[in-house]
Every structure is written in structure tokens, then in C-alpha cells.
């Protein structure tokens, strides 16, 4: 499944005011029953909720989620990218600790509190640019949402998705990316797609685009190290790049100041309100996030 780059397709334009950030929409606490849980294997699940009041979200926004049934532990809500909004909000979770374990095990119908939508969505595609989505593991969620948003947009140009995981079992939702455009994957163990890291594919794509003069717009979400590599390559190539940051979060709406990510100017992004989607060039990728 080598990458096919089709320079003949028209670039997507006019999705929104290109290059500007969408205003933050009205946030609310939605108390919703857990309606459906899809087991994607290897600790990945998609959780679906039924929301009478639609969650007016855009791709890239997130939610702080927990169930009151948890009592006092786990205490804090967990930040999760929205995989969809509206009357059927969903999220992709990977079980890593107590909170996600409960999300994977709580019975259907159990009420959850979703504070949503939170944070800044992806910056709309700049005019004349080809969207390139670079995903790592569970970071795929906001990019699937974006890919589907782009697909649904009039005159939509199919994005090119580059998706890396450790093994073939770490590529949840790959088929949803594929349904929206081109997809190329890498696995570290070579069990699916090219063996190696996803930046391998990005390097090739950047080289081709440099040759053809095509303008790319890179959107990336995944582990810090991966995003750093993507951002550095994009910057070196002079390519527009947005990243969706990750940080531990206390509140999700800007009051605890627990979610800083270092900026190049020496100050901090607060991931929940300044992000999660930010201009990758403004991030000081040399600093550890957490």
C-alpha cells in the first residue's frame, strides 16, 4: 500500500475563512447515558453517547469526560478528543489507566458528564492547500473527525492521511481515514504498511510536493515525539502545520493552569484554551510536555 500522490485532483478551498481559527462555541455540561461501545481490540474503544442537546463541536475540539458514578476516584475528568459531535457525540479511547479502564467497562446506560465542546478546533484549511493528516495511535481521533468534516464539505478535496502505529493492532479507525481519501500506514514492526515511523511517509510526501510545487497543509496529532518530528519537517520544508497538543488537564476550561505546553516565545500555551489545536511553529518542541 504505497503512497499514491495524485496531483491532478483539485485542491479544497473555501471551507471557512482560510487560516483563521474558529471561534470557541458555547460549552455546556452534558449528562448523557453511555449508549454504545465498540471494541476495536488492543484496548481501543469507541464510546457513543446520546445527546438530546446537540454538542456543537468541530473537529479538533475535545471534551472533559467522567462519570459521576465513579465517586471520588478517579477524581478528575479525562480530556478526550471528540470523534464526532451533534446528537451522537463519540470518542476513541485507549485504555492506559484507571479512568480509561472504567470507560471501557462501565455498563451501557451509565450516565457520563461531558463538558463539551472545549478548546480550539483545527484551523480551517488555507486556500489552495492540500490537507495532509499525520496521525499516531490514539491521536487519530481528531484527524478522523477532520477527514470526515473535509469529506462532507462542498468541493471537498480528499485528504492524504499518514498513520503510524506500533503494530497493526494500533491503527484504530484506519478504515475511516481511508474512506475519506488516501491512506498510507506504517507500523514499527512492519505488521501492516511500511515498516518504520510515519515520518518516513511524510518525508516522501514533502519531497514530492517540493518537486511539484504543491502546497500542503499538515495536521498532526499523536505522541509528542511524533508531532515534534512532523513539525520540524514541516517547518524545514516551509509547510503550513497545525498540531493538536496533549497535556494532563485539571479543568479543561482555563482555570487550573495545569496544562501548559512551552511556546517558543518563552511563555506557555494552555492546551485547553489556547489549544489543543495550535500552530506547530509556535510550540517549543524541545521542551518536554509532561
Amino acid at each position: 500500500m504505497g503512497l499514491t500522490w495524485r496531483p491532478d485532483r483539485a485542491y479544497l478551498t473555501g471551507l471557512a475563512v482560510a487560516g483563521t481559527r474558529k471561534p470557541v462555541s458555547t460549552r455546556a455540561m452534558h449528562t448523557l447515558p453511555l449508549a454504545q461501545r465498540d471494541d476495536l481490540g488492543n484496548g481501543y474503544y469507541v464510546l457513543w453517547f446520546d445527546s438530546p442537546a446537540p454538542v456543537a463541536a468541530s473537529a479538533g475540539q475535545f471534551t472533559m469526560v467522567r462519570s459521576a458514578e465513579w465517586g471520588v476516584a478517579p477524581l478528575l475528568p479525562r480530556p478526550m478528543s471528540l470523534l464526532s459531535g451533534g446528537s451522537r457525540p463519540s470518542m476513541l479511547i485507549k485504555v492506559v489507566g484507571e479512568g480509561t479502564r472504567r470507560m471501557a467497562e462501565d455498563p451501557m446506560g451509565q450516565p457520563y458528564n461531558l463538558l463539551a465542546p472545549l478548546g480550539h478546533a483545527w484551523t480551517p484549511l488555507p486556500e489552495g492547500h492540500r490537507p495532509v493528516l499525520v496521525a499516531g495511535g490514539v491521536g487519530v481521533a481528531p484527524l478522523v473527525y477532520l477527514a470526515e468534516e473535509l469529506s462532507a464539505a462542498p468541493d471537498a478535496l480528499a485528504p492524504i492521511s499518514l498513520y503510524g502505529g506500533r503494530t497493526t493492532r494500533d491503527l484504530p479507525l484506519a478504515e475511516r481515514l481511508e474512506a475519506c481519501g488516501e491512506l498510507a500506514v506504517t507500523t514499527e514492526d512492519g505488521s501492516r504498511g511500511r515498516a518504520g515511523r510515519v515520518t518516513l511517509l511524510l518525508d516522501e510526501l514533502l519531497a514530492k510536493a517540493a518537486g511539484s510545487g504543491d502546497k500542503l497543509a499538515v495536521y498532526t496529532c499523536g505522541p509528542h515525539g511524533m508531532m515534534r518530528a512532523v513539525a520540524e519537517r514541516a517547518e524545514a520544508a516551509g509547510v503550513w502545520c497545525r498540531a493538536s497538543l496533549e497535556a494532563p488537564m485539571g479543568c479543561g476550561y482555563g482555570v487550573c493552569l495545569g496544562c501548559p505546553v512551552a511556546k517558543r516565545d518563552g511563555s506557555y500555551f494552555y492546551t485547553c484554551v489556547d489549544g489543543p489545536c495550535v500552530d506547530a511553529k509556535q510550540v517549543d518542541w524541545t521542551k518536554e510536555v509532561f
Binding site: 477524581l75 479543568c251 482555570v255 493552569l257 511563555s267
Partner: protein, 304 residues
């Protein structure tokens, strides 16, 4: 419900709408809640700790969760008192919010400057002196854990402002009652208690502290029994009102604090769990009072 009962409480000369406030550092500047509820219904809000100059705060990670609680070492990131007065306070005033700036400095002189700067502003209900931040190199625990130092700050600020002065107690003072009495005798109008207690959490994979500063202040329900005990001790050590803080998450918690001797409570970490927490606690407390035919003031110190 809320209207059925007289929920007002007096904190010295200052009368508050009700005894439910929000705790410094857990409620931003009070302007982040427009989507959630009308902050003006609360007894008051304590702002994020303000310093003379803006501060970026500590490097990440700054927070981590523990059993029933969390650790934080924010490092007093804040916009600075000037930006607060210019950008935040006018909007709070407009909304009718009862505002208690929480102030922080590394010297007595800077505490005085902060107090003087805020004294000139309309719409400030009281000042809360944070002499108990565990997460900064200077100006934190050395003021709050030593009766002499705490008294010095209190006296200086007292002289510099006509505003009521609340002093925020550190739970790490060996002689909590001594610090409290020293502040009382230098003119503190109320004590707020408590700030966080320093804790540690280690990532067993990386062998590193889970937060960059290593230690961070413990807050949340885990802290409640300790904080409640201290509020009870303080209420017997001094005559000025105590505002209880530490793990208040439900209206039942608020009742416990009142019974232990608090005249009001501050809601902290609970606002992270649900931004409407303080409002829910207020509503629950009001309906409890109305059902029991009592008032918050009658509950204060009523533990048998």
C-alpha cells in the same frame, strides 16, 4: 429554595450573600464561567493568586492525580495585578461578582504594594493573603509557617488598606494556632484555611517525579478530613471568622465545615470536576437550611 432562607453571613464587617465562595487558583479570574452559571450568585470568588508582575509559572507537568485528590505545582502563574485591575476587575464588577483578590509576594514590601494597588479599586470585597503557597521558592511557606513572619505580613497589609484582610493558613505550620493568633492580633479580619499540603508522586517507569517541581500541593476530597480538623482547631484558637477550604465537593461537605466552626467555605478542586460545583453546593446548602429551618450562621460551630 435559596430565597427561603437567610443565607447571608458576616465575615467581620463584610457581609456576604451566602457562605459559598470559590478557592484561589481553582476558579481563574471568575470570568471563565459565563457558559456555566452566573458567578454573581456566589458568596464570592477568590482570584488566582496575584503578584506585582505577571508570572509564567512552573514548567510542566504541573498537576497529577492521586487517590481522591490531586497534586499541583502551578508556581503562581498569573496575569499580574495591573492586568487584573485593567482587564478582569471591571468585567467582574459589571457582573456583580463579589471579588476577593488573593495576593502573593516574596517580601513584606511587595505585599504592601499589592494591597495599596488593590485598595484603590472599586469592587474589591476583601484581600486574601496567600502566605502559604507550597510551590514557590520564596514567599510561600516561610511566611505561613512562622507566627512572627505571618504577623509581620498581616500587620503591614493591615496598615496599607481599608479592605478586610483574610490570611490564608498553611496546614504545614507546626504551630497552626500560634500562627492564627499572631495574625488575629495584628488585625486580620478572617482566616482562610487551608492551603494545600505538599505531596509527592513518582512515575515508577521513568523514576521521575510526576510533576516537574517534584512536590506539589495536595487538594481535593483526600485532604478534607485534615482540613476540617484544622478549621475546628482554628475556630477554637481565635475569635475572628474562619473560612473553611479543603475538598469541599458537596453541600454535605459545606455543612460539615460550618459545623466544625467555619463561617463560610471555599470550593476548590471540585470546580475542575464540574464547573458548576460551587453553584450546586450553594443550592444544596440552601435547601438543607430551609428543610431544617436553620441558617448557615446557626450551623457555624454547632458540632456537639
Amino acid at each position: 429554595m435559596t430565597d427561603a432562607v437567610d443565607m447571608r453571613v458576616s465575615i467581620g464587617a463584610l457581609e456576604l450573600k451566602n457562605p459559598v465562595l470559590t478557592a484561589s487558583g481553582t476558579f481563574g479570574y471568575g470570568l471563565e464561567y459565563d457558559d456555566f452559571f452566573d458567578v454573581a450568585v456566589l458568596g464570592g470568588i477568590c482570584t488566582k493568586g496575584l503578584s506585582l508582575e505577571p508570572r509564567h509559572g512552573n514548567a510542566p507537568a504541573r498537576i497529577t492525580e492521586t487517590s481522591g485528590g490531586m497534586l499541583n505545582a502551578i508556581g503562581l502563574a498569573n496575569v499580574g495585578v495591573e492586568a487584573f485591575c485593567t482587564d478582569k476587575l471591571p468585567k467582574l464588577r459589571e457582573r456583580g461578582v463579589t471579588v476577593v483578590p488573593n495576593i502573593f509576594a516574596t517580601s513584606v514590601e511587595d505585599f504592601v504594594s499589592l494591597a495599596e494597588r488593590l485598595d484603590g479599586e472599586e469592587g474589591v470585597a476583601a484581600l486574601e493573603l496567600n502566605v502559604s503557597c507550597p510551590n514557590v521558592d520564596h514567599g510561600g511557606l516561610e511566611f505561613g509557617c512562622d507566627p512572627v513572619a505571618a504577623a509581620r505580613v498581616t500587620a503591614a497589609v493591615r496598615a496599607a488598606t481599608r479592605l478586610p484582610v483574610w490570611v490564608k493558613m498553611s496546614p504545614e505550620a507546626g504551630d497552626l494556632a500560634g500562627v492564627a493568633r499572631a495574625c488575629e492580633s495584628e488585625g486580620a479580619d478572617a482566616l482562610t484555611a487551608i492551603n494545600t499540603i505538599r505531596g509527592l508522586a513518582i512515575d515508577i517507569h521513568s523514576h521521575r517525579g510526576k510533576i516537574a517541581n517534584r512536590t506539589g500541593g495536595l487538594s481535593g476530597p483526600a485532604l478534607k478530613p485534615i482540613a476540617l480538623r484544622m478549621v475546628w482547631e482554628l475556630s477554637r484558637a481565635v475569635k475572628i471568622p474562619i473560612i473553611g477550604i479543603g475538598g469541599v465537593s458537596t453541600w454535605q461537605d459545606a455543612v460539615e465545615y460550618l459545623l466544625a466552626g467555619a463561617s463560610a467555605v471555599q470550593v476548590g478542586t471540585a470546580s475542575f470536576v464540574d464547573p458548576r460545583a460551587a453553584k450546586h453546593i450553594l443550592d444544596g446548602l440552601a435547601s438543607y437550611c430551609s428543610q431544617r429551618g436553620t441558617t448557615p450562621e446557626q450551623l457555624t460551630g454547632a458540632m456537639i
